[in-house]
Symmetry: C2
Subunit: 323 residues, 2 copies
DNA sequence: CCCGTTTATTGACAATAGTCAAAATGTAAT
DNA sequence: ATTACATTTTGACTATTGTCAATAAACGGG
């Protein structure tokens, strides 16, 4: 009838679930290499709408773009790190800069692949882990439990400590068990009392069941996370440093060999001890920065780490260290 | 110095392996959402070169774009197919047309996910399987053996029968065991003699070890694959049809319930029998087209199928059938 | 050292994709 | 019905990406 341009004006598409539409669009675009114009025509919508469909499909996790993890492990620097520290895997984020967002992306992309149904995953908290938690894309893994490994603190950063575990759990469609306790109390007695609380005991029982864990190391500089977050005072820090501390894992100080240094703070702390991190099927250390190198090495020598995520400059620094 | 435009003319990048470069480019592009201009600048090359890097990264399988398999299984039509035919999974390729390339892409994208190290995978041959084999992207899975399930024939198509298994094996980095025999011989005696040959016996021993299989069904129309490829004469076809044949699996005729119809041809054939396809951990049926519907249903009722890949129109036709 | 060959790279142009404010549609309350 | 509000879609504009023939560097004899 020669008046095709008179558009049958839009209606919502009720006859088909939204996901089906997104999936169809994504299929044509990514698998059949049709362009947005062709898809728009096939669907009878504008191209801009197709752009939206594709965006939504990506947001919902219907489309996943991933770099082959095996390729990272083939990198020279990664191979050398694995050999030097006996790691299962080292993801070295490319780039010449020390980049927190970079390692967070790297860890976020890798983590879901390392999890299986039934896992109980311990999660520390801090800037790095929080950043990781935000870069994770939605991807449900059945029957996973995320367990906060260290009590919360009023954070010096913009995020709440428990949001690390909570974010991760939400994005993975997992259960979450947070600590309803501060990381450090004012006295050993207070800590003891709290430790008797059923809700805290339950958390510790869960901590005994973790088979995988994700954590960073903190440095022993004065501006480090342990101090900033109020877990340790500058004086505490000095005490531990005098006893050989080179890094912090889950709020606990470790020496150059990775051994847990039990000091005055420890009896007032609520959280996992490093020893419980040994022998897990996945111990993912996510850290970068030259100030962390000593601590990272210690953590690896201590046997807490099976999977390392860091960036190229930090990786190189780790390789340059003496063993 | 004001003369930045004077380009330091290109040299090959020797200091770094090619893959590292590709991986770095892909990282920045896909994970850090930098555009090609930024990457070109960072690398000190032209943007066109970055385009090439990214293309190569995709070709080498460093980048993988995948649609969430779970999403396909959430589709109404897929759920209904699974229920009706007791399948583990039904991948229904979106679209309103019957599309061979479509199902080939669908199967090619799904197949690697279903394989694990150590698998021995039986592969039939035909137009569909060949198409699948060409759409597969390179992705190595350790210690996989691909076994041709049906003897070869001078194919009426452009491809050689054994190229189905060979292509698949190559793309998966797997071993391949092809049949050095025709699918059908002129007499039962000839078949018997051939069956005694060590090289053929070895192949059959391997066929007994397959734990997964990929195949299509053929129709019983006069223009069907079995006839075209010379396995069956039109007269043979009529004989089997008179005995209730509705489809062909691995060159063997099956009835509406999926039972293998043993007829005059069978004793002259070299290849797996349908019964050996039952009980595998993956039996992937890849087929589409209205002429195949009866055969597909028969194959599913016969218990040969755990995973179905088809297109939307064919899927709908399968659902419309009486059981 | 020269010269043909191969490979990697580039610039200019064409094609494709993303953005955003405005308009159309759906929804829910009055 | 009518209105106010939220959501979806759209067109026009801009940004980004892909193509391809031309060109420079590396390679491999003779």
């Amino acid at each position: 009838m020669g008046q095709e341009k008179k558009k049958a004006r839009r209606r919502y598409r009720p006859d088909e679930s939204v996901e089906d539409t997104l999936l169809r669009a994504a299929w044509l675009y990514y698998y059949e290499n049709q362009n947005q114009n062709e898809i728009a025509e096939a669907f009878g919508v504008s191209r801009a709408t197709v752009v939206n469909y594709l965006q939504q499909a990506r947001e919902r996790g219907l489309v996943e773009i991933r770099l082959d993890p095996a390729a990272f492990n083939r990198q020279r620097i990664s191979v050398e790190l694995c050999r030097k520290y006996g790691l299962q895997e080292a993801v070295v984020v490319p780039g010449t800069q020390v980049s927190l967002p970079g390692v967070a992306i790297g860890a976020a992309r890798r983590l879901p692949d390392l999890l299986s149904p039934g896992d109980v995953v311990g999660v520390a908290w801090g800037m790095t882990i929080f950043s990781l938690s935000e870069k994770l894309t939605r991807r449900t893994i059945d029957n996973v439990t995320i367990v906060q490994m260290v009590g919360s603190m009023a954070s010096p950063y913009v995020f709440a400590a428990e949001s690390c575990s909570t974010n991760i759990a939400r994005r993975l469609g997992a259960r979450v068990a947070n600590f309803y306790a501060p990381a450090v109390l004012s006295s050993a007695q207070a800590a003891d009392i709290l430790m008797q609380e059923p809700i805290i005991r339950t958390q510790f029982e869960l901590l005994n069941k973790i088979n995988k864990a994700v954590f960073a190391v903190g440095s022993c500089e004065m501006d480090s996370h342990v101090v900033q977050s109020g877990i340790a005072s500058p004086a505490d820090l000095e005490t531990y440093k005098a006893r050989g501390a080179v890094g912090v894992v889950c709020g606990r100080f470790i020496d150059a060999a990775g051994a847990h240094i039990v000091g005055p703070l420890d009896e007032r702390m609520i959280g996992i001890t490093p020893d419980a991190l040994r022998g897990l099927s996945v111990g993912m250390l996510v850290s970068n920065g030259f100030d962390k190198v000593a601590g990272m090495q210690a953590a690896m020598l201590g046997g807490y780490v099976t999977h390392l995520v860091t960036d190229a400059p930090t990786a190189q620094a780790l390789l340059n260290l003496d063993t």
